[in-house]
């Protein structure tokens, strides 16, 4: 059979032309640039919005965070009302969402028959893919009136002695609507993270408890929760971050009111919803700058939330790896 003649390799042919193959260098360079894009964007975002917020930051300083005055006519601005609103709505929503999400996650990992887990899990996830503007639309036109008619009077009757339900529920936007909408948005996020966590609890830990005759609830309380404790905390922090940043659905249902109030039936405002409400144009440069100042606060918060959650997850990963 004829074979192609092969000469003893010429040493020069084996030698490199330059450190890296040209094609490799090109692809490496392009992909590296792309990989740095996120970092570049983050730096750019921070720099640009701080720069534009600077006039307001210089004018009001940290007093911006404690001043309740948001008066365009006097060109004086302060974020305290919105900080309060953000805190109230997000924490209240977290209070509601956390147990519900954990319960759903437990249902999907421990309780439900296998054939049910996939479909139900998918449906819960689908709740997350409903656009926030649609949720807000539903909130104003369907949920809001329903609450005023059915839930509000009951709450006012039972809990009217608390500062939260002092007045009769009135038609229109309310903090309560915002809290409920935020709860709906947080639940899929927190429950999907918790699902992952619960699935990763080592089987032998669970079997050990079951072998001792523990009921499912005791298994959850005694084994799963302690093991997944930190992860659950991280999930809640991430859910909180999402709630704090939500602008559209909240601005649609909350009413953009500029007073600090504990009464959930009153309209209110949050940082994000105030920003969204001014999209049609601000009147003065200082107002625009104050608007961007609000965005700076939001950005700072989201960074803290993200890093905090990562630190928790990282620390837990270490502990479980060393166990």
């Amino acid at each position: 059979m004829a074979t192609v003649a092969r000469s003893i390799p010429d040493p020069a042919a084996l030698r490199r032309r330059g450190r890296l193959n040209a094609g490799d260098a090109l692809l490496y360079g392009i992909t590296l640039a792309a990989a740095l894009s996120a970092l570049v964007l983050l730096i750019l975002i921070a720099r640009e919005i701080v720069a534009d917020a600077w006039p307001a930051m210089k004018e009001f300083g940290f007093g911006f965070l404690t001043s309740r005055t948001w008066e365009p006519t006097a060109d004086v601005y302060g974020a305290a009302t919105f900080l309060f609103g953000t805190a109230l709505t997000s924490f209240a929503a977290l209070l509601l969402a956390a147990p519900i999400s954990i319960a759903i996650a437990l249902f999907l990992t421990e309780l439900a028959p296998r054939w049910l887990r996939g479909p139900v899990g998918a449906l819960v996830e689908m709740l997350a893919s409903v656009p926030s503007v649609v949720l807000g639309l539903w909130g104003i036109l369907v949920m809001g009136p329903w609450i005023v008619d059915h839930v509000g009077p009951f709450l006012h009757r039972m809990l009217g002695w608390t500062p939260f339900f002092k007045t009769e529920p009135a038609a229109g936007p309310s903090i309560l609507s915002a809290i409920l909408i935020l709860t709906i948005m947080m639940v899929p996020i927190i429950s999907s993270i918790c699902r992952e966590l619960f699935l990763n609890v080592p089987r032998d830990l669970k079997e050990g408890a079951l072998a001792l005759g523990a009921t499912r609830w005791e298994l959850v309380r005694g084994v799963i929760f302690p093991y997944a404790r930190a992860g659950i905390a991280a999930a809640m922090i991430l859910g909180l971050g999402r709630a704090v940043g939500e602008a559209i659905a909240v601005t649609q249902v909350i009413g953009n009111n500029e007073a600090i109030t504990w009464n959930l039936f009153d309209p209110g405002d949050t940082l994000a919803s105030r920003i969204a409400s001014l999209y049609q144009g601000a009147t003065t440069k200082l107002q625009v700058s104050s608007l961007v100042y609000l965005a700076v606060i939001l950005l700072a918060f989201s960074l803290v939330v993200n890093l905090l959650a990562r630190v928790i997850v990282h620390r837990v990963g270490q502990r479980h790896a060393n166990a």
Partner: protein
């Protein structure tokens, strides 16, 4: 180097053959741990050289040094020389990509691309710009790999539809299509059934006429059946309690299996350990 044809099978060590690889004091490390230390021997052209030894003795690490495949592991480094026709393959200015074009490799688990049979064999040819008479080259490679008769009517079918033995022969065809000088085989039949294994072994006898073949195998009988020369690696302990591979003995296959010089070799080939 003089070039003298050797009649097979190799019997006496006094016959001079062309040296293709001269390995001098080769040591290889993953991070701080040594995988092999101080390996030195020559590999001759147009012969089949088997590397045998117990698991963990560094056989795979060694063979992957020959075509710079260990470069893909970030913690890898090596000392010593591997002279391939008098070019040190580990030299700073040697391009691993060019090395692999002349020194091909077939892996333990057949790894054809999820493409057609034809495209698998043509892959190397297209990349290297050997596109003239593509069909002819593909057919030639498949014939040399003893696969042509079985696939000539379905070259466009997916390679993944072939049996394990066929896939491995396809990988061999893919490797020889680009006309390397050397073919390295890292336990090529260990994932195959006995019939497929036999077909691979027959194939190697034929390929030896045109290529230098180095084969790692944990199957001593296979080495005895197939190889002209055999290198026996084993595990040694270091002063610090670490374990690494060393070359214990290298000789004609016949001698290794019937009358080895080293006791450790004798223990291994007679099955007393390993």
């Amino acid at each position: 180097m003089q070039h003298i044809e050797v009649a097979e099978p190799a019997s006496s060590a006094a016959v001079r053959r062309e040296t293709v690889f001269r390995i001098e004091n080769l040591s290889a490390y993953y991070g701080k741990a040594a995988a092999i230390r101080d390996v030195s021997f020559d590999i001759y052209g147009k012969t089949i050289t088997a590397i045998i030894g117990p698991s963990g003795c560094g056989k795979s690490t060694f063979i992957r040094c020959l075509n710079r495949m260990n470069d893909v592991v970030p913690s890898f480094r090596s000392d010593g020389k591997i002279l391939f026709h008098e070019v040190d393959l580990q030299g700073k200015d040697v391009d691993p990509v060019s090395v692999r074009r002349r020194i091909g490799m077939v892996f333990q688990r057949p790894n054809p691309f999820p493409k057609s049979i034809f495209d698998n064999v043509a892959y190397g040819l297209r990349i290297l710009g050997m596109k003239d008479n593509l069909e002819g080259r593909v057919e030639h490679a498949l014939k040399r790999a003893a696969l042509w008769d079985e696939v000539s009517d379905r070259l466009k079918d997916s390679a993944l539809a072939l049996s394990g033995g066929q896939q491995q022969r396809l990988c061999i065809a893919r490797a020889i299509a680009i006309e390397p000088d050397v073919i390295l085989l890292d336990e090529p039949a260990s994932a195959l059934d006995p019939i497929a294994t036999a077909s691979i072994e027959d194939l190697m006898h034929e390929l030896k006429e045109d290529y230098t073949i180095v084969i790692v195998t944990h199957n001593m009988q296979q080495a005895a059946r197939v190889a002209n020369m055999t290198a026996f690696f084993s595990i040694s302990g270091g002063e610090d309690g670490s374990r690494h591979g060393v070359l214990v003995e290298y000789d004609d296959t016949e001698k290794i299996f019937t009358n080895p010089s080293e006791k450790r070799t004798e223990d291994y080939v007679t099955g007393r350990f390993g």
